[in-house]
Amino acid sequence: MLRKIVVLLIVVIGFLLQGSVFSGISMGGIVPNIMIIITSSFGFMRGKNEGMVIGFFCGLIMDVFYGDILGFYALLYLVIGYLNGFFRSIFYPEDIKLPMILIAASELAYCFLSFVFLFMLRGKFHLGYYFVHIFLPEIAYTILVTLIIYKLILWVNERLELWEKRRS
């Protein structure tokens, strides 16, 4: 129960941070994608199911506030969370390389899928332009922010696991 509340809080705080603080310190109109960091982190830390659920809620919040169609971002994030769950078996908390690569890959997938569904389906095919002007800066900025956010999420998760172990 505690885990659910804490994770929900993390998602809400992440969303609030993304919309306020990180928008305030955006570089060239690019905001780091905190929701991807949260979804991806919990995916490879806790497995497919949890990544999926957390991804779903992250996407749902995005949908409610920014999406045209309810459920699109939810589906996108839950798939990303699910896919990240496959890497739980090779995840070690001390290693920062795997999380970085996974988060970067998730971000790239997110950008690409968003582009496919939100732009290409409306007949906008300038992938090169979007790649250079939106994808790359967002990925770079997100990775930069990951160094801080991921450490926090890792710390919170370790606390939670310790607490659960003590309870059982």
Partner: protein
């Protein structure tokens, strides 16, 4: 125990099915939201009660922070500007001080320059001629400085490097000068080259020719000739020694065959005197 078992059974559902379930849910939501606005109401209501207040708070805090940081930036800019201005003021003040000092120095130096060209050993004061008696020649004239400036009776007056006369009357801000060409003027002179003494006296007749007379020059060796310079002597009771009077232009042997007399061309152009120097030292004599 029962709770635990139920949890376990939940987890044991393969993730594929959960994914499938969620995907179907999402697709349903998408279709619903695309075709109808059934879902907009509840989700937005929930969001409005849960997340929007936080957003408002954060944005208010953000605005506050932004305004504070703006204020700080402005303050920094103002502080910098203030410092710059202070520096400028200090510099300008220094410059003004310098200029004032320069000005003071300049006026002082100008005065000194005007007064001090010659006879450096004497303290002098410059004065302007403000009036004279009738006639082209200055036998008596007034100057615009008086006892307020330290002028006293019997002070020597010079102009253009030569002796002009002596102060005879003094008022608070004026003085009258009797020049050496005046008929009543007698000066004890001395030939500069031989130190032989003579009497230099003004003469009304010679005044118009621009000469003054000298007499009682004892010249035993007969070496004094035209062009010799005559200065005030050291035995004069009113005139300081060594002030140039003029040059001998005519020289005659007196009838007694012992002394010589003649005319002197004065150094000073007595037709055009505009400014004079009054030597603020009187010859000290035993009373």
């Amino acid at each position: 125990m029962a709770r635990n078992r139920s949890k376990r059974s939940k987890i044991s559902i393969p993730s594929k099915y959960i994914l499938l379930g969620f995907t179907i849910l999402c697709v349903v939501m998408m279709v619903l939201s695309y075709t109808t606005d059934v879902l907009n109401g509840p989700f937005e209501a929930i969001a409005g009660y849960t997340i929007v207040p936080f957003q408002k708070g954060i944005s208010r805090a953000g605005n506050w922070l932004t305004s504070r940081s703006d204020n700080i930036k402005r303050m920094q800019a103002l502080t910098e500007e203030n410092e710059e201005l202070k520096n400028t003021v200090a510099e300008l003040t220094l410059q003004i001080n310098d200029l004032q000092q320069d000005k003071f120095e300049l006026s002082e130096l100008r005065q000194l320059y005007a007064l001090d060209e010659r006879y450096n050993s004497y303290k002098k004061i410059g004065a302007r001629v403000i009036g004279k008696d009738a006639g082209n020649w200055f036998s008596f004239f007034q100057i615009d400085k008086g006892s307020n400036d330290g002028i006293e009776v019997d002070m020597n007056v010079i102009a253009g490097g030569g002796l002009v006369g002596v102060v005879t009357d003094v008022g608070p801000n004026w003085a009258s000068v009797r020049s050496i060409i005046d008929d009543s003027s007698n000066v004890s002179g001395m030939v500069l080259s031989t130190s032989d003494l003579c009497i230099v006296s003004g003469d009304l007749e010679l005044m118009n020719d621009g000469y003054i007379q000298f007499s009682q020059l004892i010249d035993e060796k007969d070496i004094i000739g035209q062009g010799d310079q005559i200065v005030t002597s050291y035995i004069s009771d009113k005139y300081l020694p060594g002030i140039s009077i003029g040059y001998i232009s005519h020289l005659n042997k007196d009838a007694n065959n012992m002394t010589k007399s003649g005319y002197i061309t004065p150094v000073v152009d007595f037709k055009h005197i505009e400014t004079v120097l009054v030597i603020l030292e009187k010859k000290q004599l035993k009373e």
